[in-house]
């Protein structure tokens, strides 16, 4: 179902991007996501999985490089276009929308490294890839360090007693990596490259992290089994293990001096994307309920003719519009300034993910018993939405960090830009 965009200034290009993304979401992503959702995690990445067909088609259309600028071969979408495309893709599947973005993280990291060798070796080939054979993952969280890694500004973040699960030591012209990353590494078990956050200076605690690129075919890299989850089952996640893995020194492109700042920038960007995806899911839930209420008869009349149903449908619509507005506002701000203001991204992420869960919940309630069955999309949307409140920063932890940021910077000043 199409929607009326309150932005009357959309260009022909904006509208074409929206239409193309919606077509892909409807014709490719929804059917593939439904199949993957009903498979075991191992089947979902098996030889005959529809996941590979999804990757091929997505790469052919360039959706794997929506985060990248044109001078390295990316799509160079503006903030509004990125929001429009991401919402449409997540309308098709939140998990697959996230998957097709996270594959680009090592390429994105390489580009930000400003290291021409890494850009030539990682970013350019990734952008040129049209068959889905180059896939990245984001190795941030660890078995003992989940939301802790977002505790920037808290005393524990700088506590040298905090030991991390994945470390790297410099030896000559190489870094040697040992340890493991959590089962929540998105794209982890199917990746060819990893953007890995790793503790390089234990004396600084979690502030002693660096970020590096790891080709996943290096000796000593092992991938765990794919994670079996309640929701977003179409998003591959799984553990990574590193046993004396050696990378060239220049592959460590972020050192502890500015890792905290880079994490803040990553969080600022990722939360905007999360808000866009959550808007897509909220809209999908709204549309499921809206269509059902126009057809289902109960109490002798269509559901849509019941007073309380009209109210609930309106509230679902309002959540979609609110989420879209706040996601676009955060994107417009934070993709037009560097570094961004994270409190606005976190506001968008928290609001939009809570709205998408509320909409998915209401969709099931409006569909009644049907909403609980796998015959209808609503139950998958509910499971997928639930994950979003924890993904890319547990909402409570984000709010804590947001409050910390406010006490440091509120009110922002235009001279800060």
């Amino acid at each position: 179902m199409d929607y009326f965009d309150v932005n009357l200034d959309l260009s022909d290009e904006d509208l074409a991007l929206k239409e193309a993304a919606n077509k892909f979401a409807k014709e490719v992503m929804r059917p593939v996501a439904k199949e993957l959702d009903q498979m075991t995690p191992n089947e979902a990445i098996g030889e005959n999985s529809p996941l590979w067909s999804f990757f091929r088609q997505a790469y052919e259309l360039g959706y794997h490089k929506i985060l990248l600028p044109d001078f390295v071969g990316g799509l160079a979408l503006n903030p509004l276009q990125m929001n429009i495309v991401m919402e449409e893709l997540a309308w098709g599947s939140f998990g697959l929308a996230c998957q097709i973005a996270v594959v680009s993280f090592p390429a994105l990291g390489a580009m930000y490294s400003n290291d021409e060798e890494l850009i030539e070796k990682v970013t350019i080939p990734f952008c040129e890839c049209t068959d889905g054979s180059i896939r990245g993952c984001w190795g941030a969280t660890e078995p003992d360090r989940g939301s802790d890694l977002l505790a920037m500004g808290e005393p524990i973040y700088h506590d040298p007693k905090v030991r991390c699960n994945c470390t790297a030591k410099r030896e000559g012209d190489e870094w040697i990596i040992n340890g493991q990353k959590a089962a929540w590494v998105s794209g982890g078990t199917i990746s060819t490259h990893c953007m890995l956050h790793v503790q390089t200076e234990p004396s600084k605690g979690m502030a002693g992290f660096g970020a590096c690129l790891v080709p996943m075919d290096l000796p000593g890299v092992t991938k765990g089994k794919p994670l079996d989850k309640m929701g977003q089952r179409d998003l591959n996640q799984g553990e990574l293990f590193f046993d004396d893995v050696r990378i060239p020194a220049n592959y460590m492109f972020v050192d502890p001096d500015f890792h905290e700042g880079i994490m803040e920038m990553l969080l600022t960007n990722a939360n905007v994307w999360m808000a866009s995806w959550a808007t897509g899911l909220a809209r999908a839930a709204f549309e499921e309920a809206f269509s059902y209420c126009k057809e289902r008869v109960q109490g002798g009349r269509l559901l849509m003719e019941h007073y309380s149903i009209k109210q609930r449908i309106f509230n679902m619509f309002a959540r979609v519009e609110t989420s879209r507005a706040i996601a676009r506002a955060a994107a417009n701000l934070n993709f037009n300034i560097s570094p961004g203001f994270p409190e606005y991204s976190m506001t968008a992420k928290i609001t939009a993910t809570e709205n998408c869960l509320l909409n998915a919940h209401d969709a099931i309630q409006l569909l009644g018993g049907n909403g609980l069955t796998k015959e209808y999309l609503a139950e998958k949307l509910y499971r997928d939405a639930r994950a979003s409140l924890i993904e890319d920063g547990n909402n409570e932890v984000l709010a804590r960090h947001g409050g910390h940021t406010l006490f440091e910077h509120y009110p922002r000043n235009r001279d800060d830009i």
Binding site: P69, N114, F258, F335, S338, I417
Partner: protein, 132 residues
């Protein structure tokens, strides 16, 4: 002590560099094709530079323009950047550089400046600026 001892010296050096890049390389053409105009708001010394495909203008004249990208940084940071000694993502993360404008355009500027960076050491020699 700041690398650039005065605003006048900085404007002289960068007036020459930008003009050379626009006149003798594809920089101006590439800038135009990319739809980019840039303002550098520098402190210590205080200088505002605006650059488009026609070359540089400074201070009051520059402040009247509406650039696509604005970059704020100290004079010493400018110097490090042109010597290719500045890790730009690090400088952004540490707020040594603040950029306003589409991030895509900000990132696109960096490779366009390579020709100027290649020549910058010779300007440093000519104007007795340290390169260590």
């Amino acid at each position: 002590m700041a690398i650039f001892e005065s605003s006048a010296k900085m404007k002289k050096i960068f007036g020459e560099i930008w003009t050379d890049m626009v006149n003798n390389t594809d920089f101006g053409k590439e800038l135009k094709e990319a739809g980019i105009t840039i303002a550098f708001v520098v402190n210590d010394p205080d200088v505002v530079m605006y650059v488009d495909e026609n070359g540089p203008i400074f201070d009051e004249e520059a402040e009247k323009k509406t650039p696509v990208v604005t970059m704020k940084m100290a004079g010493d940071t400018v110097h490090s950047f042109w010597l290719k000694k500045l890790n730009v993502p690090k400088a952004l993360a540490l707020r040594q550089i603040k950029a306003k404008g589409p991030v895509n355009k900000v990132l696109k500027i960096l490779p366009l400046l390579k020709s100027g960076q290649e020549k910058y050491p010779s300007y440093c020699k000519n104007h007795s600026l340290p390169m260590d």
